[in-house]
């Protein structure tokens, strides 16, 4: 198991980091423009936050209502306590469909449960149809960004991937690359037996599952095959369609700077007998995976997240060390909170330290989730274990000195005396000081 430090050492020198910075810069400037064009944004953020809190305050009630609503419109609901259960439920649903491809539109929940590998191991052909997901599936790498999985890949790299894997001549022209993916995927869409999507929001009152996409692949995935499986984190509910409207107002603006995403699908049940199109069956899998264990704790508000990715774009650490450094399907500041909270401290206890606590994430969060507060809270949890980073232990001595004024003043006087004789700059320090002088000097002689 690697540490964040080790992964970040690779991340900061990754030649793809420049592309990641360009991509996040683009998202940021689009978001800034969209927010400045929308006078009600601040009010909408407050309303969106209130809606999320209302849902979390009575999550089991809303889940029950949502379940009843889905069943009323002809769908079925499955509850999965953890990843293993979710994988089991889904593999049973698709068990008799070996032979026809399973197509997927972008879904963080299915990344979280490692669905693709599981289905492939069972003999299914699984094809990601979101362009970014399609690219990283060819590259066999995890997503680097919550909404733009291949954000750090240049068109040249993508052209090379396509030419290596799809047997097409190399091109780096974006429209041609798009066309290659379209033609390749179109044929798979028509053969597919199952479509698996994520869920941006579930509407408790109507039983609707809402997907927000920009490519139209989501709509094809949920309508072309005869079975649609929607995988939803248990917290992703809104009470009714009026609340959904508020969430949509802030989601697209925060994510991509759009007023509304190109395709907002409100799917309410499978095809009715008198309708020509749509799947015969809609199966909604509700994933808990320790989410409900956060209710009523200091971490409850992280469940308000609507996965817009704005905090990633704003985060200096994410932008300079990249998404893969987090070693989790959820990177960035949200990932630094979610990963230890959902997947445990043993593996992710160092992620809360991967932050300068600059607060840029809170500033852009559409739900005003106080990520810096929770990063600090999680550091307190980590500090109470054997996982506290070794350098951090030095802070204990510093603090002990800080509670003894006489010793402290002696230390200050000593430093002051040493600073009359030492070098102008210290360029190499041992022990915990090595971290400092590995990348910068220390001003010394007065």
């Amino acid at each position: 198991m690697t540490t964040y430090r080790e992964r970040s050492q690779v991340g900061v020198v990754d030649p793809r980091i420049a592309a990641l910075q360009r991509g996040t810069d683009r998202f940021r400037s689009h978001r800034a423009e969209a927010v400045s064009d929308f006078a009600e944004m601040d009010e909408m953020r407050d309303r969106a936050r209130a809606i999320r809190h209302r849902v979390l305050a009575d999550l089991s009630g809303y889940v029950e209502q949502f379940t009843g609503s889905v069943e009323r419109v002809g769908g079925r609901v499955h509850r999965a306590a953890d990843s293993e259960e979710a994988r089991k439920i889904i593999s049973e649903l698709v068990a008799d469909r070996i032979g026809a491809p399973i197509i997927k539109s972008k879904s963080m929940a299915t990344e979280e449960i490692g669905l693709n590998h599981h289905l492939e191991a069972l003999g299914h052909e699984v094809v990601e149809t979101d362009l970014g997901e399609f690219i990283i599936q060819l590259a066999a790498e995890p997503p680097v960004h919550i909404i733009a999985p291949a954000l750090d890949r240049t068109r040249h790299e993508i052209g090379q991937l396509f030419s290596d894997h799809l047997g097409v001549p190399f091109t780096s022209v974006p429209t041609e690359l798009n066309q290659i993916a379209r033609l390749h995927l179109r044929e798979i869409f028509l053969r597919a037996g199952v479509g698996i999507t994520g869920v941006n929001f579930g509407v408790a009152a109507t039983g609707s599952v809402v997907t927000v996409t920009n490519e139209g692949n989501g709509r094809l995935t949920s309508t072309t095959p005869s079975l649609h499986i929607a995988v939803m984190g248990i917290e992703r509910l809104v009470p009714d369609l009026a609340d959904l409207e508020v969430m949509l107002e802030v989601l697209a603006r925060s994510a991509t700077g759009q007023r509304l995403s190109v395709y907002t699908n409100i799917i309410t049940g499978p095809r009715r007998v008198d309708e020509p199109d749509g799947p015969d069956a809609l199966e909604v899998v509700i994933l808990d995976n320790r989410r409900t264990s956060l209710l009523g704790t200091e971490l409850e508000e992280v469940l308000g997240c609507i996965r817009c990715g704005a905090c990633l774009n704003a985060c200096p650490v994410y932008r300079h060390a990249g998404g893969r450094s987090y070693g989790s399907v959820y990177p960035g500041p949200i990932g630094a909170v979610l990963s230890p909270a959902l997947f445990g401290f043993e593996q992710f206890g160092d992620l809360p330290y991967a932050s300068t606590l600059c607060g840029a994430c809170l500033e852009v969060c559409p739900i005003r989730i106080d990520l810096p507060r929770m990063l600090l809270y999680l550091r307190q949890q980590t500090a109470a274990t054997h996982l506290l980073p070794s350098v951090a232990r030095g802070v204990r001595y510093f603090t002990a000195l800080g509670t003894r004024p006489a010793l402290w003043r002696g230390g200050v006087r000593l430093a002051s005396a040493l600073r009359r004789i030492g070098p102008r700059w210290i360029t190499r320090m041992p022990g915990p000081g090595r971290g400092w002088t590995s990348t910068r000097d220390l001003p010394w002689r007065r």
Partner: protein, 240 residues
């Protein structure tokens, strides 16, 4: 005369004592009688940001004794002022008496530029600084205390000073306290972006209100043999 106490901060005591002299000078010019409480050490941010809650409480309890009184407490650092203003009272949620005292202290704390401009209404301190300057607005002060405009108003009144804009003034410099030593590669990568921005601005000096960010930037500038230097806002305001 306004009586004030100066909370000097640990970093300034250890590595930038000239900032203490400059802050005293600036506050005196603004009509203040400055007292420096002798037993003070650190604001507690180091253990707090590390997650060491008990250690932070021990330090914070001592701060309550050190800063007993009723006069304003001026801090030449946005992040230390933020620690004392926003976090100190929350450390004592299970002890009403300590919490009451912590609240009383936190309400008396003001960062230097905010104290001068927002509380005293002073912007012209008769300073002269003949140089091109870029201002680095440190994150905690900017986002949690609304700092930035005060420093701009103060710098605008400094004779001969030419203020240039950074292209990304609200971007973190990558210091982050312990972060700088624990994840030095990431810290340095973020710093490199900031320093590139500073160098492109044509500034001869990066001026800021937090010695912590300045220490980090100074170390980075020297390592890359840049001609750009750092100055604390108080030093610029104290110069004639």
């Amino acid at each position: 005369m306004v009586d004030v106490s100066l909370f000097t901060t640990c970093l300034v005591q250890g590595l930038y004592p000239q900032v203490i002299e400059a802050t005293v000078e600036v506050l005196s010019r603004a009509g203040c009688q400055v007292r420096i409480p002798k037993a003070q050490t650190c604001c507690g941010q180091a253990p707090f940001n590390t997650g060491l809650l008990e250690e932070t409480r021990r330090l914070a309890t001592k701060i309550l004794d050190d800063l007993e009184g009723s006069e304003p407490i001026v801090v030449p650092s946005g992040s230390c002022a933020d620690m004392l203003t926003h976090h100190l009272p929350h450390l004592f949620e299970d002890s009403p008496e300590l919490q009451r005292r912590a609240l009383a202290v936190s309400q008396r704390v003001t960062e230097l530029s905010s104290f001068l401009v927002d509380q005293l209404g002073v912007t012209d301190l008769g300073a002269r600084f003949d140089a091109t300057v870029a201002f680095h607005n440190s994150c905690h002060g900017m986002r949690n205390l609304g700092l930035g405009p005060q420093a701009a108003a103060l710098l605008a009144k400094v004779d001969s000073l030419r203020l240039v804009k950074l292209s990304r003034p609200e971007e973190c410099c990558g210091f982050g306290g312990l972060f700088a030593v624990e994840l030095p590669e990431v810290s340095a990568a973020i710093m490199a972006s900031k320093l590139a921005d500073v160098e492109a601005s044509g500034a001869q000096y990066v001026v800021g209100g937090d010695a912590s960010c300045l220490l980090h930037l100074a170390g980075g500038l020297h390592r890359r043999q840049s001609a750009v230097e750092v100055k604390h806002l108080a030093e610029v305001l104290a110069s004639r």
